[in-house]
């Protein structure tokens, strides 16, 4: 066999022509380009004594898996079809991120395997319902008659998971705990953010930022089409504009929920501050740009800020 290969090589060399071998058929090669939008965050400047660490922009209404986009009505990191498939074991409903146990996210219940019989033992004390670490988004969902919804990890959830409720990034690896859970990383693990689980050379943190799955090849046509593009523009006044292009949207953007997280470290490179904002956009955002001023210029009013989409 090896001799045959050698012979073939020989023939190729003699002919002085190199034939590019046919690439194997890619299962995702028929991906349809999604509708996308852009976001421009103007005038970012780190707080005094802190250093910019990471920006995460994510359309929580869209879940990418196996080369396709699917809608997540609950915006909690699980697509509607996936959540529906879990209903018999977990009792989930697609409309709410905490559809079965008050104070415990469906996403967490699934990840820790607490099925319906054990759910009655899950209890979040009233003093632990909020987030001491400010890495959460709380909003009134107009689709459900204005019920208050919570995207993030409450103190009781962090305590249950063995995390510290006072820290937004327990592992200190640059990804807030809640986003680690959403991206399929373990919030307790210090090293999984910089691995390349799919072996394609793209670090997991970079896939998490670009909203493509960490456990699938990032170079398939579909994932290339779906990956967010982050750019930074420096302004003459020393501030920075963040430009994020190619954010896939569904339903033309109607009720798509964009989440924004900026993290900063202190001078010893430890996670020091998190600033959060969100925007519920409307139909008609395909190929449009949502532009707004950096929301955390006033540090006392810098988390859970709603950006109104025009």
């Amino acid at each position: 066999m090896r001799k045959i290969i050698a012979l073939t090589t020989l023939v190729l060399f003699i002919g002085c022509s190199q034939v590019e071998p046919l690439k194997p058929l890619d299962t995702n090669s028929l991906a349809i380009p999604p509708q996308t939008m852009s976001v421009i965050i103007k005038g970012y400047r780190p707080q005094a004594g802190k250093v910019f660490q990471n920006l995460f922009v994510s359309n929580f209404s869209v879940k990418v898996a196996q080369g396709a986009l699917s809608l997540s009505t609950s915006r909690d990191g699980m697509s509607d079809t996936f959540k529906t498939s879990l209903t018999s074991d977990y009792g989930f409903n697609i409309n709410s991120p905490e559809s079965v146990v008050p104070g415990f996210a469906d996403l967490l219940l699934f990840n820790i395997g607490v099925t319906t019989p054990a759910q009655s033992l899950m209890y979040c004390g009233s003093n632990q319902m909020l987030s001491s670490s400010n890495d959460v988004l709380i909003y009134n969902d107009s689709r459900l008659g204005g019920t208050q919804e919570f995207l993030g990890l409450r103190d009781c959830e962090k305590v249950y998971m063995g995390l510290n409720p006072n820290l937004f990034n327990f592992a200190g690896d640059g990804i807030p705990d809640y986003l680690k859970l959403r991206c399929g990383l373990n919030p307790l693990n210090k090293n999984d953010a910089y691995l390349s689980t799919a072996g394609d050379g793209i670090a997991n943190i970079d896939k998490c930022k670009r909203n493509i799955p960490i456990d699938e090849n990032g170079y398939t046509e579909a994932n290339q089409l779906f990956a967010y593009q982050y750019n930074i523009q420096a302004n003459p006044d020393g501030t920075t504009d963040f430009v994020v292009n190619n954010i896939p949207i569904l339903n033309g953007g109607d009720q798509n929920f964009l989440a924004f997280y900026v993290t900063e470290t202190d001078l010893s490179n430890k996670p020091a501050a998190i600033y959060t904002a969100f925007s519920v956009i409307k139909n008609g955002y395909a190929n449009k740009t949502l532009q707004f001023d950096y929301w955390a210029k006033d540090p006392s009013n810098s988390t859970n800020q709603e950006i109104l989409a025009p």
């Binding site: 066999m1 050698a6 003699i14 820790i112 395997g113 004390g125 693990n189 090293n191 072996g199 699938e216």
Partner: protein
């Protein structure tokens, strides 16, 4: 012969065609004779119920403020629980309604405290017999139905510190017992402390003090004890037997909340990684709100490594044949006089590579004779086994390829496959010159040559870590990995198809090892390794693995 022939052939060919760059020659210098494809299908492990011992420790307030007519603060006329029905009634309900425990994984203990702390009942420490513990609790409450005056006998001060101190002693003693009786696989224990009280920790002052009473403070009196309790988990020996320790606090009152008690108990719960709950207006204490629910451990793919066991990138940047797969190439073994076809040439239980790396030569004896070998007396504790020929072997507690003695010599953990947490299995790290010891995880992500490729990426790309990419032959083909999610049998299991192309092969044997690393998705952080091995048999250009191959 083959080695001579192929450069010759290529040279001849190249002479006839001057368009082709000359770099093809380097291929033979690298030592790669061919490339193959590894095609592997594997699934994550199905969720397993989290099996662990659960030990409840109830700490119950017996101070005088439970009694009628004892004001817990100025102006208070009500008592909090004169009959014990808020404390003991729901506790008995909780115990009687627990889910059946056929494997006897749940046990209980109770501490009463006022001026001092005591453990009622006949069992010292934790009681695994639920019925017996129900009797203990009933007797503690109503004296077994025989006492003229129903207990609890509530009197005296509220010494939190003494109660916590007793909890510390009990848990430490219990963990010591577990460590003495358990054999692997270890079943860890979750200690769930539920601390129930109706007021602030006021105690009698030491004699000579001007003030008759003293109120214990969080920082001075309680935090150090709580920290000691939590730190049992960090104990080098006991920590392996403990899943977690939580201190939960419950505050019960009638009409008026004492905010200082509230905030103190909150602080205690935060320090103890537990929950604080309050039960006002005469409400019963609901113990089930502190009970941890049963859960399943869901696993996720973390990483996958592919390694040709018969190929070693040596320090000079050449890929060398390693017939016995010990990580030390044949050529180097020949120079040292060790046997290239035997992982452990001198039969002392420590492989040639580990001896080479720890003392610079694969054997003590120049001819690798058994008579002159180092028997590593330091490893006698790891139960060496001697076969009929006098060769020693050590058992392995992990499946990464290093035995317990080798791990000890390398200062690596004997219980985890990946000591420093970088997810690279220890033997693979040793073979590819990466560090294994605790605290060295960042070395995997370092780029010592500034060639833009980290050590970790080089490992995944199948490139040598010891040299810069710039000095590697441009003809060398790096691996290309593609991972795709496939349809899975259930939502809790993820199945993958991984194809790694351009796996460098040597001229003779090539056994491929695929290492799949998974971790629980939340709550636990205990990555584990599954391994599959398969040889490239003659002439094959690819080797395939199926889910059943991974052990």
């Amino acid at each position: 012969m083959k080695k001579l022939l192929s450069p010759l052939l290529i040279t001849l060919v190249l002479m006839g065609c001057n368009k082709e760059p000359l770099t093809a020659l380097n291929k033979s210098l690298v030592g790669v004779t061919d490339y193959g494809t590894v095609d592997a299908r594997f699934c994550t492990q199905a969720p397993t119920p989290a099996k662990q011992n659960l030990k409840y420790l109830f700490i119950i307030d017996h101070s005088a403020s439970n009694q009628p007519g004892f004001p817990s603060f100025a102006g208070d006329i009500s008592n909090t629980d004169s009959q014990g029905s808020r404390r003991y009634g729901p506790l008995l309900n909780f115990l009687k309604n627990l889910v059946p425990d056929p494997n006897n994984l749940t046990s209980f203990a109770i501490i009463d405290f006022n001026d001092k702390a005591t453990q009622p009942g006949t069992v010292s420490g934790f009681d695994s017999d639920t019925n017996n513990f129900i009797n203990t609790t009933t007797t503690d409450w109503i004296g077994g139905g025989t006492a003229a005056v129903p207990a609890p006998f509530d009197a005296g001060f509220t010494n939190y510190q003494a109660a916590l101190q007793m909890a510390l002693t009990m848990i430490r003693k219990d963990a010591q017992n577990e460590s003495a009786i358990q054999t692997p696989p270890i079943v860890t224990t979750a200690y769930q402390i539920i601390f129930v009280t109706d007021g602030v920790p006021t105690v009698a002052s030491p004699s000579g003090s001007s003030n008759p009473t003293y109120t214990q403070t969080f920082q001075a009196d309680l935090q150090p004890v709580i920290d000691s309790i939590m730190n049992i988990k960090s104990d080098l020996t006991l920590g392996a037997f403990i899943a977690n320790i939580t201190l939960n606090t419950a505050y019960y009152f009638n009409d008026v909340e004492v905010t200082s008690a509230e905030s103190l108990l909150q602080q205690m719960a935060i320090e103890g990684n537990g929950q604080y709950l309050q039960f006002g207006s005469g409400k019963n204490i609901l113990y089930q709100q502190f009970a941890p629910p049963s859960r399943n451990i869901r696993n996720r793919l973390v990483d996958a490594f592919v390694e040709n066991e018969n190929a070693v990138w040596w320090d000079d940047g050449r890929l060398m044949l390693d017939s016995d797969g010990d990580g030390l190439p044949d050529l180097i073994e020949q120079q040292f006089g060790s046997d290239p076809y035997n992982k452990d040439s001198d039969g002392n239980g420590v492989s040639d590579l580990v001896e080479y790396r720890t003392k610079g030569k694969p054997c003590n004896d120049a001819q690798c004779a058994a008579a002159g070998r180092d028997l590593y007396a330091i490893c006698d504790g790891f139960s060496p086994v001697k076969d009929a020929n006098g060769n020693v072997t050590f058992s392995s507690s992990t499946n990464d390829g290093l035995n317990d003695c080798e791990k000890f010599l390398l200062n690596a953990s004997r219980t985890v496959f990946n000591t420093n947490g970088d997810m690279i299995p220890d033997f693979l790290a040793l073979k590819t010159t990466l560090p294994v010891i605790i605290g060295s995880a960042s070395a995997a992500l370092a780029d010592p040559f500034g060639d833009g490729i980290t050590n970790y990426s080089k490992l995944k790309l199948g490139m040598p870590i010891q040299i810069s990419n710039r000095t590697l032959s441009p003809d060398f083909q790096a691996r290309a990995t593609s991972l795709d999610l496939e349809s899975s049998p259930s939502a809790d299991v993820d199945c993958y198809h991984m194809v790694v192309e351009n796996v460098a092969l040597t001229s003779y044997s090539n056994t491929i090892k695929v290492m799949v690393i998974q971790n629980s998705s939340a709550v636990d952080d205990k990555p584990f390794l599954q391994v599959a091995e398969r040889p490239f048999s003659g002439g094959q250009t690819s080797v395939s693995f199926l889910p059943g191959d991974f052990k």
